[in-house]
């Protein structure tokens, strides 16, 4: 039931690009992306509300393919500050509301 993220972990050099995928076995109506650094709370990155929607912030962008029940997060020209664990999140509402985080992707950017 939990969205599955891939890869589980990735190591990059500064300036390299990365893609993190989030796949759900159930319909996705919205996708949220968060980054959590070790010992800190998750920080909001972006929300995608419609199928096909793409959003970007600085060098981080995301796409949402509602048909494929997938979302992807794109990190361009990685910076050291991008290191952390990335989570996708989505909502379920089948009688009662639930918010579900994905399995997480650990990203480490090296100098």
């Amino acid at each position: 039931q939990q969205p599955v993220q891939s890869p589980q972990a990735v190591i990059l050099r500064e300036g390299e690009d990365a893609v993190i995928n989030c796949s759900s076995s159930k319909a996705l109506y919205s996708v949220h992306w968060y980054r959590q650094k070790h010992g800190e709370a998750p920080i909001f990155l972006m929300i995608l509300l419609k199928g096909g929607e793409q959003k970007g912030h600085d060098k981080i962008s995301a796409s949402f393919n509602e048909k494929k029940q997938q979302s992807s997060l794109y990190l361009t020209a990685s910076q050291l500050s991008y290191s952390g664990t990335y989570f996708c999140g989505t909502e379920r509402n089948s009688g009662t509301y639930k918010y579900i985080f994905g399995t997480g992707t650990r990203l480490k950017v090296l100098a």
Partner: protein
């Protein structure tokens, strides 16, 4: 403006005891949700409250309960603590303009609970 504040930051309890965790949302936010995060895993949704009413519940036993007060602050209560309840408990607030759904969540720093 102050962010989401949680108290206490750390707590040590023994099995069978009861614990109360507290959360103050960002001023103007009407929705609060609670999450349990075990080391190395993603946050697991416990509850969501909006305007003092429970709007969502995760797959947690009845030992877990929560409430939201008129000032929108919230408490999470856990009874009959088990070793497996040891985790970081995160609180998040959101504006609640759309009954708390599809909104940006602002997280507090969490309460680290250790059950011995």
């Amino acid at each position: 403006d102050a962010g989401v504040t949680q108290s206490p930051t750390h707590l040590i309890k023994t099995r069978g005891q009861h614990v109360t965790l507290r959360c103050s949302p960002i001023s103007g936010h009407k929705s609060v949700s609670w999450y349990q995060q075990v080391l190395g895993q993603g946050p697991q949704f416990i509850f969501q409250y909006y305007e003092k009413e429970e709007r969502g519940r995760g797959n947690f036993p009845d030992r877990f309960s929560a409430r939201q007060f008129p000032n929108y602050s919230s408490e999470l209560n856990v009874n009959a603590l088990l070793l497996g309840d040891s985790a970081l408990y995160l609180c998040a607030s959101s504006l609640g303009e759309t009954a708390g759904v599809i909104e940006k969540l602002f997280f507090g720093s969490g309460t680290q609970l250790s059950v011995l």
